[in-house]
Amino acid sequence: MLNILNYQFIQHALIAIILSSIVCGIIGTIIIEKKLILMSSGIAHTAYGGVGLGYLFNFNPLIGALIFSLISALSIKKVRNSNFKHSEIIIALFWSLGMALGILFISFMDGYPPNMNSYLFGNILSVDSFDLISITILTIVVLLILTIFFEDWKIYLFDEEMAKINGLNTSFLEYTLLILIAFSVVILIRISGIIMLITLLCAPSATASLINEKLNSRMIIAILISLFNSLVGLYISYVFDIASGASIVIFSALIYFIVFNFTKLLKKNS
């Protein structure tokens, strides 16, 4: 078993798992508290357009994904701020528009279309050095911005109006949060793929929210749960020879449901 650690692609996969777990624990907790889950999923799906664009013009699809998710995050926010009542319509439109653009860009390519599965469903074993460098940089940015302004985030996430009245720069925090969500999407694409990444992003934090009541310890617990889920998921995929992204997502959801029912049972008995 241990000698598989000598393979470079396994080493890459493990580093990617550690980094993505940090992001899931932090950003997942924030989007659950700020009720931005659907929006984050919308942003993720829009990223497919960027992946397609990257293939078409021959640059790294992750860069395309980053550009598209940033544009969609900022646009969705603009619509929400303008008091437009049906912002979920805009989320849905961006969601499928991004996917459609991705398909369109791919169809413009000459010859056989490339295999997009690793971006749609994730393939952690195909993480290359460029992916790893991008994921590392983005994770460091997320981690720094969160820890430097932790007290600001804590109050902003709790009560935005009061934060504004007290003089906090809430629009800076708001836009920074959207940019961080876009970063997280890009970090997670290689692991679980666009379609499944919302579970990867939310499930560990949701599980942590069942067992802990403090913001910072909840984030740390979520990071550990995410790490555990991804490693076990990856191991299961190796043993049973199934897709790693699906395996990790299924295991993450399973853990959430187990903890959910277990805590419910505990409450009943206490």
């Binding site: 008091n83 600001d152 009061m162 906090l168």
Partner: protein, 255 residues
Amino acid sequence: MEKALVVKNLNVKYGNTIAIKNINMEIESGDFLGIIGPNGGGKTTLLKAILNLIDYECDQILIFNKPLKHIKKKISYVPQISKVDRTYPISVLEVVLGSKLKKALNPFYKFTKDDINSSLEALKKVDILDLKDRQIQKLSGGEFQRLLIARAIVDNPKLLLLDEPTANVDPNSRNIIYNLLDSLNKQGTTIIMVSHDTMAISSKVKNIACINGDLIYHGGAKINKNVLDKMYGCPIDLLAHGIPHRVFRDHNHQG
């Protein structure tokens, strides 16, 4: 006397719906004003416009003779309890400490001893000091309401705006809240309080403003029946201070 608040020709629209129109108010420093009016009459909207939390049109809003942006540290707000997320993972003390973040951004902020002591003092004033380490999800409605007030008064604001501070709270909390507001007012804090509680309000406040889209009445706390009728659109019965009628009169309202 110094004016705590001057509002000139304030209008707020939500889409095409007019929420409040042509509001003109002047509130003396040291006043304790109760704002009453029917649901959807624009009471909360007025507070939010004063605090610049929503878009509005107006000729002027001055707080102690200055625009809001120059006066932020002197004004504070207690939102409606139902508008605040009570499941958020934060402790009682942390909520109050949050008001100590005064800069636009506070990198690597560590709360000082002064921050902590004045926050504890505020918790003491609303009588929930013993709950300081409790997570807010475990507070009762009355305790949570008192926490929101502690958060608002921690820096001794000169103008305090409260939105329904006694809705859905237990009688004990209600007493503590009214006594605290009373003593703050006596120490010089100008208070503007939105309330449903018409019965209680007339005995607690110095002046009353009635809002139903526009400002119907602004004056002494003993309002008469005509004002109330105009405010609610039809004759109503109130068990309130200064209003002798306790039986429904004829319902003349057309339509």
